[in-house]
Amino acid sequence: MAASTKQVCQVSNQMSPTRRPARIPTEQETHGRRGRSITDDDANAINRVEELSYDLKVHEVMTASLKIASPEMPLSQVLEILRVNRISGVPVVKDNELIGILSLEDIVHAMQKNELSAPVSAYMTRKLVTVASYDSIVSAIQKFSDSRLGRLPVVDENYKLVGMITKGDITRGILIALQKDYKEEEVRRYRASHLFEDIISDRTTLVLRYNIKAQDFTHGGNASSHIKRALLRLGADPQIARRCGIAVYEAEINLIIHTTHGGILKLEVESHRITMSTIDDGPGIPDIEQVLQAGYSTATEQVREMGFGAGMGLVNIKRCVDKMDIESTVGKGTKLTMRIHVPTENFTGRKEE
């Protein structure tokens, strides 16, 4: 690419001269893994966008088809390249090697001096900030904010130019990845909702079981949240999913409060009904009639502080489900069963004959 006659071309795959360091250190080598050590709690707190900025690599979002300039090229010609391609800068390459970058700003400087016929080499920026193609985009974001530059050349491990990256490329890359996430949820939902159609048996039951720890209020409701999501994925009507969610959540809280060593929360889905149950090894209920009365509660201060304990839980459950059943033995434990009938088309897409 020595000749300046060739204005625009793809960067060749030839290796660059070895004057440059053979390979620039990766962000991991420089800063350690992901630049800092991450505890489990940190890891949970990282949201999806942050996660993606670590997962996505620069080469996945950069622009690979490159417009480049040679140092001998007159600025007016580069201006034309920028205009036609609607870009704001190009890397300058000589003998396959990245030697500088020329931005619209540099051209404006030349314009002010009426020097558009000057060669690229006279106005290009030689101080190069590059980003490695195999780094995660978080390192590019870091470089954008440190350097205040709008576009960065991307080089491979041999310091050969392989593309350019802008902030816009990063935003677009993250949005596409998020959209893919969203589509994956759609696909999951689609697959799950065909479960009862695709698997033929005389009676298909999907059973989900969750082990619940005693007194673990911090995670109270996690299992119910999973159950609600599962029902929606299986194609349950949103109103039915809401009723199930509310009922099973009240039941999960009761389970956490009353079980002695831990208990089980179970969801059973059949094509025509949903059954949820809790089983605990708590003190049992001496008088079931009594606990079913609105307002009856033996809840502790701790439970009340969380917003429960007004004696409304079982009443709520009963209102949400079609059938509620309590079996309890004092000193042994309690089993609560909740059942909701669903129109068959909910889970199979077909109406019942």
Binding site: A45, N47, G220, G221, K228, G245
Partner: protein
């Protein structure tokens, strides 16, 4: 009413800056008793509450609230923030008390989403 407008009206501080606040809120519901929230709220509304534990977010998720405002400047526990981010439910803290804030939002046109009939 747009959530951004609600944040303004409530002098609120958004505790979950990563979550979208350009969302439509159809009504409001205020309570400190989670069983009441589960029983008497309607979906797609805003929850005003003085409680800040993780159960508030789980309750909001089950009852399908779009956002939660903590009244009287209360700050949530770390776990509460975590679950809210996970489930995509924006959390806001407002210096106003429950009565004052309900009044302001209602006056600005946000209807009550409290139903007399339970769910």
């Amino acid at each position: 009413m747009n959530l951004r407008k609600i944040i303004k009206l409530s002098d609120g501080f958004l505790l979950t800056p990563d979550l979208d606040t350009d969302i439509e809120i159809n009504g409001g519901y205020g309570a400190d008793l989670m069983s009441d929230v589960l029983a008497f709220s309607q979906p797609n509304s805003l929850l005003l509450t003085g409680l800040t534990n993780p159960q508030v977010v789980r309750t909001a998720q089950m009852a399908e609230f779009h956002a939660i405002i903590f009244v009287r400047g209360k700050q949530p526990q770390a776990e509460t923030l975590l679950i809210a981010n996970q489930e995509g439910i924006p959390l806001i803290t407002s210096p106003f008390g429950m009565f004052e804030l309900s009044g302001r939002l209602h006056k600005a046109g946000l209807p009550s989403f409290e139903s007399n009939e339970s769910n």
